[in-house]
Symmetry: C2
Subunit: 406 residues, 2 copies
């Protein structure tokens, strides 16, 4: 066995906890804290409540579906910037389903999580750019490999079993971009978790796939298309880590709208509403975000005008600002109507220049969040369970067997 | 709603049993008999035994996986000739899982089955040619729609729910040709059944997808590629039926090798082995089937030499002729070594001219099997349960609530 799939499998099987750098372990804990918050917050969405009744937690498979779908439901989970995969949802979804049954220690959980994110993002790199743009919901199509790798590590698969797990994942890879904006979006994430978990469980029992699932003539990279850079599967394995390129969202809305919120916040006037608001964005951000009258909370998350209005009126852009009720608040409608969007090709895709009543502020996209910001976000999402879970995650590395109900 | 997806949904919701022609009902019973036989026979395969332990029949979803995978395991199930979809396995897999819980009558079962085959094959027509050739295992990618349509009819979905079921199916469509020749092939069929069933169950509960799952810009046809003839989804709906283009396999081996078996059978000499065997086939059939020393039963199913040998030595090409043991029988190895394959571009892909010791026979592929042949095949596959199940299927239309354990 010497192809890229086999070499990735060998890396996953051979990876040892002691070799994971301390800074990467810390990033893993941050990602896990963030995704647990998203999971708990996402449970309140209608799509997830429907899923919970269709997939009751009577099996590991169903638990994986619901955990991962919930983690992705608010569009508030992490993003691997080079590929736009949301890796933590499918990876953590599979692991949380498996955790109690397998009696994982905190270190085993964190190790499996880090490797799962790595596998998902490496498969994404191997088909990016081109794959997402073609219409594949990359969190689904690549997330399944992440779930398989994480669950495989938790199950202690050997090299050959890992290769078969990657193959069984490849032949289940699925998810259409067409579903974004509908309830069905979360299915892509939920099923990626379940299907990757199944791939690992089947491989552990001796179920076999093929030698070259990713690079074979009719394998994942050739059939799903995109850049077909299979070398990206193995380049710098163990030295370059995908988790270092993962960003957390401070606001539950489209990434290209984050900078304008950052620019609006210092321009907020407590005593009055702004008269004129000009927002300069990259043309692509204008194309994606020009929605002066969003119809509901889902559309508000993709509305530049709404994002500006909540920052300028409420001084906040949290979950409360993106509900159906928030959309219909008269003050927000008024300020939205005063926003003028300007496409400016000289700006970076994620930057913004905002001018409110003559005062201008420029903001660039931030790559991530500070520890304090992440913790505040977590508290807002996790509600009454925040303290208990913060303690679990902060001592994850030294924890013995985890016993956690989410 | 007026796109092809919506019109297909309307057809499925509106279809009435009384409108199904008698000849089509009869073909439906034949297809069901054939697939039950394949299901029972397939259970003995190692891949299916592994699946049964990973997916115990504790849920409808797991039952669908195992039923459909087993039905496809021997490569002995039916084929929709225009697309090479094996439609009955995913469709019947979903329905057998749902049948007892929903207390379906025989007529409801048969009606849902016919519509399921119709939906799978129409989606296949909409992307053929090109889709399978690109590397999509079409029984998986299109079978999921068949399972969704069949389960949807059994659940009595309305038009809007059917549309969402098609969407939830579309975003789960999966399966790589790369897996053919490995255990993982049957997963594509098994998961198509389970995922289509889930699509129908979710839609029945109000879960929503999108308006144009098949024809949308990032919908199934554009993203999965192939011919993109979405008009084929609805052309002649209710008048032209896919089930009329479905063929049953008399021999558990590649379809392009069937004619040579038919030609060899009358040339068999009971008292001696043939000295010289020449087989003329279409060049594509030679390319696919030139295996003078197959390593196991799986490869024997794709060996023209082995097919000729079993017909000339045993006068049969049944399950017993394609086992690992059969491959190593000295008489078969001897005759295989005496076979000369000749590529002949003047022949149809499915035809053969065989010359044994100077006597020549020409055979064309048969489109299907007679009732007596199907019944004999069924008895061989179903073993001790053959009589009981033959009676159930022959009186399916008039049966009340079905209660059947497979």
């Amino acid at each position: 066995m010497s192809g890229p799939s086999a070499r990735l499998a060998r890396f996953l099987a051979g990876s040892r906890w002691e070799e994971i750098p301390a800074s990467l372990r810390q990033e893993g804990r941050r990602a896990i804290l963030n995704i647990i918050g998203c999971m708990l917050g996402g449970r309140r969405e209608r799509s997830i409540q429907l899923l919970e009744s269709a997939f009751p937690a009577t099996s590991l498979a169903n638990a994986a579906v619901v955990h991962a779908a919930a983690a992705n439901a608010l569009d508030f989970d992490d993003t691997h910037l080079p590929t736009v995969i949301h890796p933590s949802a499918p990876v953590a979804g599979a692991l949380f389903a498996l955790m109690n049954e397998r009696k994982l220690t905190g270190a085993q959980f964190l190790h499996a999580f880090i490797l799962g994110v790595e596998a998902a993002c490496r498969v994404g790199n191997a088909v990016s750019p081109g794959h997402y743009e073609h219409g594949w919901h990359i969190t689904g199509t690549c997330g399944v490999f992440g779930a398989a790798a994480a669950a495989g590590k938790a199950l202690e698969l050997n090299e050959s079993q890992f290769l078969h797990a990657l193959g069984i994942a490849a032949t289940q890879a699925a998810g259409l971009v067409e579903m974004l904006g509908s309830m069905a979006r979360v299915l892509n994430t939920g099923f990626a978790a379940r299907n990757g978990l199944a791939a690992a469980l089947l491989a552990a029992q001796g179920f076999e796939a093929v030698e070259q699932p990713l690079e074979g003539e009719r394998g994942f990279a050739n059939v799903f298309g995109g850049s077909r850079k299979v070398a990206a599967l193995i380049q710098g394995l163990g030295e370059e880590w995908a988790l270092r390129e993962v960003a957390y969202k401070p606001y539950p809305c489209g990434m290209v709208l984050h900078a304008l919120i950052d620019a609006c916040l210092p321009l907020r006037k407590v005593e009055s509403y702004p008269q004129s608001v000009e927002i300069r964005l990259h043309p692509l951000a204008v194309e994606r975000g020009d929605r002066v009258e969003p119809r509901n909370g889902l559309e508000a998350r993709l509305s530049a005008q709404h994002c500006a209005a909540v920052a300028l009126v409420d001084g906040a852009a949290g979950l409360a600002q993106f509900t159906d009720d928030a959309v219909s608040r008269p003050a927000l409608a008024l300020v939205r109507s005063r926003v003028k969007l300007v496409a400016d090709g000289s700006l970076d895709k994620a930057a913004a220049i905002v001018t409110v009543d003559g005062r201008a502020v420029r903001a660039e996209a931030r790559q991530s969040m500070t520890g304090a910001e992440l913790e505040a976000k977590f508290r807002a999402l996790a509600g009454p369970r925040a303290e208990e879970l913060l303690a679990v995650v902060s001592s994850l590395e030294s924890a013995g067997e985890l016993s956690l109900t989410l």
